[in-house]
């Protein structure tokens, strides 16, 4: 058993090397972009020049460096309360990525476990879990999100809960299918014949084989969750002011768009960069998973 587990690490590295080898330049660029954004978000408290919520009414609505009336301290200018746009963008990026990461991981753990349980146990448990999955797929998630956020309040905890709820059904559906397929394989039967408990089979034999669909689905779901979070925050339904998230900054800055467009442009461009990186990665994973889309 230990052999199989320790063997999985080199296998993973080899798989990653394979992945990198047949990536297009655009996909490599997106990987680099994604890594830099993640590093930027992690280092935010060290590199942000100002407190993102510190107001300075004497330097309100200053444009970015290079324009009239700009102040050299504020690289990207200031907003209507004199808060530094660069610091807010960095903290916004950090919060957006953190929320999305938490949401994706919780969604993966919750939906993934349900999917594996449905696949292993089968029978009535399977029927109930899949009925819940079908119900959630049937309803557009934006509706569920708006409804729950209004009902439960706009705190960060509720936001993470809502984001986690988005996408669990995909993990459940996909992992159930994979699990059912694997359960019919001879090596599982051999493990069972050797007296392995269901928990051990799930951990040692199923999980390593489920890694690749999990990675694909995680990438896809991460990009969807980022989009959902920015959209909800943009509409004013996400994390409440003064906390900065990228979507909320675009939403709140709209009032100043005719005269002080940088308040909107800076976070909007950052959102574009983030979604470009995550969508490219998500797309890449989907194409690899879908045999029909392989290059012909």
């Amino acid at each position: 058993m230990t052999v199989a587990v320790s063997a999985s690490r080199p296998v993973l590295i080899a798989a990653l090397r394979d992945l990198w080898a047949d990536a297009t330049p655009m996909q490599r660029f997106a990987v680099g972009l994604g890594v830099s954004l993640a590093l930027l978000a992690m280092a935010t408290p060290l590199i942000a020049p100002f407190d993102p919520n510190a107001q300075s009414l004497l330097s309100r609505l200053r444009p970015p460096i290079g324009f009239d009336r700009a102040k050299p301290d504020y690289l990207l200018g200031t907003d209507e309360l004199g808060r530094d746009m660069l610091s807010r963008c960095l903290y916004g990026l950090r919060l957006t990525l953190t929320l999305a990461a938490l949401g994706s991981v919780i969604g993966l753990l919750f939906g993934g476990s349900l999917g594996v349980v449905a696949g292993v146990v089968g029978g009535r448990t399977d029927t109930v879990i899949m009925a819940a999955v079908d119900t959630q797929i049937a309803v557009p998630f934006t509706l569920i999100a708006i409804f729950l956020l209004t009902l439960l309040g706009h705190s960060i905890t509720v936001m993470v809960f809502v984001l986690a709820l988005y996408g669990w059904e995909n993990y459940a559906r996909i992992l159930r299918g994979e699990t059912r397929k694997l359960m019919r394989m001879p090596f599982i039967e051999a493990a069972r014949a050797a007296g392995a408990t269901p928990a051990r089979i799930a951990r040692r034999h199923l999980l390593p084989n489920l890694m690749s669909p999990i990675v694909v689905q995680f990438t896809l779901s991460f990009s969807n969750i980022i989009l959902l979070e920015s959209t909800l925050s943009f509409l004013g339904l996400g994390v409440q002011p003064p906390t900065a998230t990228l979507g909320a900054m675009v939403g709140a800055g709209r009032d100043y768009m005719p005269t002080q467009p940088w308040i909107v442009i800076a976070p909007a461009v950052l959102i574009l960069i983030v979604t470009f990186a995550v969508q490219t990665l998500g797309d890449w994973m989907r194409d690899r998973a879908d045999v029909r889309l392989r290059p012909r």
Binding site: A138, L235, T280
Partner: protein, 309 residues
């Protein structure tokens, strides 16, 4: 076919029931139902009257029954802000939403079917890669960012297009483009892939071999066969994508539709409007998807005859 239709419809009603039940328990378990259903700023007499009407003094079970009763007598409650039946408020917002949806679907079909066909035929040339890049951008750019930049350029800098409302034909341009962007991206990809599948088939070679002009081969033999896949995807995706998109688009452009209403109700905590709006849209989406499913089964002779598993 009849059995398939019956099980599909039965499943649809089951889903309705589950959603209605979940909405009920979500609202009742998260706070005081009297605040939730009746709201603030109302006289004591009316409050007693409404409490009795909705059965809010009873147990959870009687409340649930009176909640379900709304589906027979249409009394879904009053808006906190406007103090008139939510069913009226939703009703007057259906048509603007439908208008926007129809123009968006029209634009989507006009753009993405030709684009998808071209991308499939010239998949190795620059046309194919350009189309797929644009489709990717339409998918990767969040619609609110697209809308924000369009407003910035076309309304504030160039001063060409109006931002708010649905008064004239000019008002349709930006909302339609924003709502269609994601749909166009999705449908272009599906059209391309469906066409690629079809282009590799033997009957395409036969059609060419018997000397038909290429245009006829592509349109008659290719597109017709691909259209089944394309239409089913359009039908199944459009309702959900449009419901999600219209919330954002309508709220940005203050379009007087259901999406705008939902966001306003959420921001002002007008629970009865929000609850009924969410139920209406959810039920509409599920009903449309069921209809598409049935139409698809009916259109496919194999399913029509076999009665499907």
């Amino acid at each position: 076919m009849a059995r398939y239709a019956a099980t599909t419809l039965l499943r649809m009603f089951m889903t309705f029931f589950v959603i209605i039940t979940m909405v009920f328990f979500a609202t009742r378990l998260s706070g005081n139902p009297i605040d939730f259903v009746i709201g603030q700023g109302i006289t004591q007499e009316d409050r007693v009257l409404l409490t009795k009407y909705y059965g809010l003094d009873g147990s959870l079970w009687t409340q649930y029954l009176s909640f379900l009763r709304a589906f027979t007598d249409g009394q879904f409650g009053l808006s906190f802000l406007e103090r008139r039946p939510v069913i009226d408020i939703v009703a007057e917002r259906i048509w603007p939403s439908t208008q926007l949806l129809l123009t968006s679907i029209a634009l989507t079909i006009l753009v993405s079917i030709p684009a998808g066909i071209l991308a499939a035929i010239y998949r190795r040339g620059w046309i194919g890669s350009t189309v797929m890049t644009v489709a990717f951008l339409g998918y990767a750019v969040p619609n609110f960012v697209l809308a924000t930049f369009m407003v910035l350029v076309f309304s504030y800098v160039l001063n060409w297009l109006p931002v708010v409302g649905n008064g004239t034909a000019l008002h349709f341009i930006m909302p339609t483009i924003t709502l269609s962007a994601a749909l166009i991206a999705a449908l272009t990809r599906f059209t391309r892939n469906a066409m690629l599948d079809v282009l590799g088939q033997d009957y395409m070679r036969t059609a060419r071999a018997k000397g038909l002009p290429e245009r006829l081969v592509i349109l008659k033999h290719g597109l017709r066969n691909a259209s089944i896949t394309v239409l089913s995807v359009l039908g199944l995706q459009v309702a959900a994508l449009a419901a999600a998109g219209s919330v954002v688009v309508e709220s940005i452009f203050a379009w007087p539709g259901i999406g705008d209403m939902l966001v306003r109700a959420a921001l002002t905590r007008d629970y009865p409007v929000l609850q009924f709006g969410v139920l209406t849209v959810a039920i509409a989406v599920i009903a449309i998807n069921t209809l598409v499913d049935l139409a698809y089964a009916w259109a496919d002779p194999r399913l029509r005859q076999a009665g499907r598993v």
